[in-house]
């Protein structure tokens, strides 16, 4: 069942950037890509426990701030060593300038 959570304002995230969102003991990374699409993944890198919101977004890729592990943002796929486990992804919708994440 869908469970939409109001995460942040669309304008809270710069273009081609990422912010952290915490909810009910879970942490997420919420992204705004260059083409103004929004995405959400689990917040922590799957290599060690580091938050991806401190990482660099380049195109569709988020690079972990700790050891430069890379993930494809829309699919969560691990794309570069040392990351080899995929990120969880969550559906996102924009309504009235707000970003909603589906935790369902």
């Amino acid at each position: 069942m869908a469970q939409w959570i109001n995460a942040c304002g669309a304008d809270d995230i710069d273009e081609e950037d990422v912010i952290r969102f915490d909810h009910a003991g879970q942490s997420f990374a919420v992204y705004r890509l260059e083409d103004d699409t929004f995405c959400a993944t689990g917040g922590f890198c799957t290599h060690e426990n580091v938050h991806l919101a401190d990482g660099l977004v380049m195109g569709r890729i988020i690079e972990c701030p700790k050891h430069n592990g890379r993930f494809d943002i829309p699919t969560g796929k691990a794309k570069g060593a040392p990351a080899c486990i995929d990120l969880k992804t969550f559906p996102v919708k924009i309504e009235d300038g707000r970003v909603f994440i589906d935790l369902g």
Binding site: E16, E48, V50, A53, D54, P65, K66, N68
Partner: protein, 418 residues
């Protein structure tokens, strides 16, 4: 996968460089045989946690694996663990291993890493004098770090300081002794080193700089460390982090050129076109820095060079040109360096709310960047600086100094697009 006529690729050393090379060969659909030979008895693992999480974790640590047994087997990589290669016969293109076997190779990768430099002092052979390179070393150290013991760290380099921070977290009383006038040596700018030292001191670690060691005397309980100025330190355990020596014995015996490590060209080939070297064991010319010959002891370099050497063995012609990048964790903060700060003739400081972020320029060109602080303030901009260094940019120093200017906007493709 191999045929009798193709002896395939043999990799000596199953560390970061060797293992990444093996994985890359398969990612690139190489179908010949790949044999990875490692002297250590574990599956290939990452060394960086050895001075960090392996010391501080509450539970008994296990090695952080680069590739598990299943993955290696699935990829058709033959992993020979706990086996030492004892010789290379270049004419016959074979390597001999300690169990008497001889293995043929079409191409050979030397990824033998480095070993800790040891203390040449009387008393330094006592069993409470430790070094840290392997997982076995890490467990030996961990077992010594009981609450309240006195640990003396010889050498204020990255590994020594990381161990100092970890030992403090474990409740040890820690003293670091550095012979040079300051910790961290030439590769780290003095301003950053001073901040790291201040951070350690504030946390409760004693750092003695500019004073060497004259003797270590074993006692029934622990040791006494005597410094050049007469200071006497009592130690329950001693760890020496006084640098690493490239593991070149095999290459040397095989007649390959040694020049601060195994000498390789831009493709990471040795003088013998069938033999390559990668990682801590080799020195290579860096095209981004005018061909300056470097030997790096850094995790990402080992990884990237392993990958590059695999490509060269598959016929790639490109020179290895990745900008050096290094990190070290110290008490929860991170130190990151991109490029080569010591190449610079000018330093520009960006003040990020009391935390200096340094840019190093040479004749106006960006050649390095360095910072020490919370990962959220350091990592992104170091990564962008790395891209600016790679693009051989001449950024406006005023823009570099201004925290309001985003480094992303200075990247060439973006700057022209904007």
């Amino acid at each position: 996968m191999s045929s009798a006529s193709d002896p395939g690729i043999v990799i000596i050393g199953a560390g970061e460089a060797g293992t990444r090379a093996a994985l890359t060969l398969r990612e690139r659909h190489y179908t010949g045989s790949v044999t990875l030979i490692g002297a250590e008895t574990h599956l290939p693992y990452e060394r960086p946690p050895l001075s960090k999480a392996a010391q501080t974790a509450l539970d008994h640590p296990s090695p952080a694996l680069i590739g598990g047994a299943d993955r290696l087997a699935d990829l058709g990589i033959t992993y020979r663990t706990g086996v030492m290669v004892t010789g290379i016969d270049r004419a016959a293109q074979t390597v001999s291993v300690q169990d008497g076997l001889s293995l043929p190779y079409a191409q050979l990768l030397l990824a033998t890493g480095a070993k800790p430099r040891t203390l040449a002092l009387p008393g330094a052979t006592a069993d409470n004098v430790l070094y840290l390179r392997t997982f076995v070393d890490a467990l030996a150290l961990r077992n010594r770090l009981a609450h309240g013991i006195r640990l003396v760290v010889i050498g204020g380099g990255f590994i020594g300081l990381e161990v100092a921070a970890s030992a403090l977290e474990r409740g040890c009383a820690v003293t670091v002794v550095e012979m040079a006038p300051r910790i961290l040596g030439r590769a780290v700018p003095a301003e950053i080193a001073a901040r790291v030292a201040a951070h350690h001191r504030a946390a409760g670690i004693t750092i003695i700089e500019g004073i060497g060691l004259t003797a270590i005397a074993a006692r029934p309980q622990g040791s006494t460390v005597v410094l050049a100025d007469g200071t006497v330190l009592e130690a329950d355990a001693i760890i020496a982090g006084i640098g690493a020596i490239p593991e070149t014995a095999l290459a040397e015996a095989a007649g390959l050129t040694i020049e601060n490590g195994i000498r390789v060209d831009g493709r990471l080939a040795t003088d013998d076109p069938a033999i390559f070297a990668a990682g801590d064991c080799c020195s290579f010319p860096h095209p981004v820095f005018g061909g300056r010959r470097l030997r790096l002891e850094a995790w990402r370099n080992a990884q990237d060079q392993g990958r590059h050497a695999a490509g060269s063995m598959l016929g790639d012609r490109a020179a290895f040109a990745t900008v050096p990048w290094f990190w070290s964790d110290q008490h929860g903060d991170t130190l990151q360096i991109a490029g080569l700060p010591d190449e610079g003739d000018q330093t520009v400081t960006r003040d990020l709310g009391g935390m200096p972020f340094l840019f190093h320029l040479k004749g106006g060109r960006l050649v390095g960047a360095s910072a020490f602080g919370p990962i959220g303030k350091v990592a992104k901009d170091i990564r962008l600086a790395e891209m600016l260094i790679d693009a051989k940019c001449h950024p406006d120093p005023a823009a570099l100094a201004d925290p309001a200017v985003k480094l992303k906007a200075l990247l060439p493709t973006r700057a022209t697009a904007a």
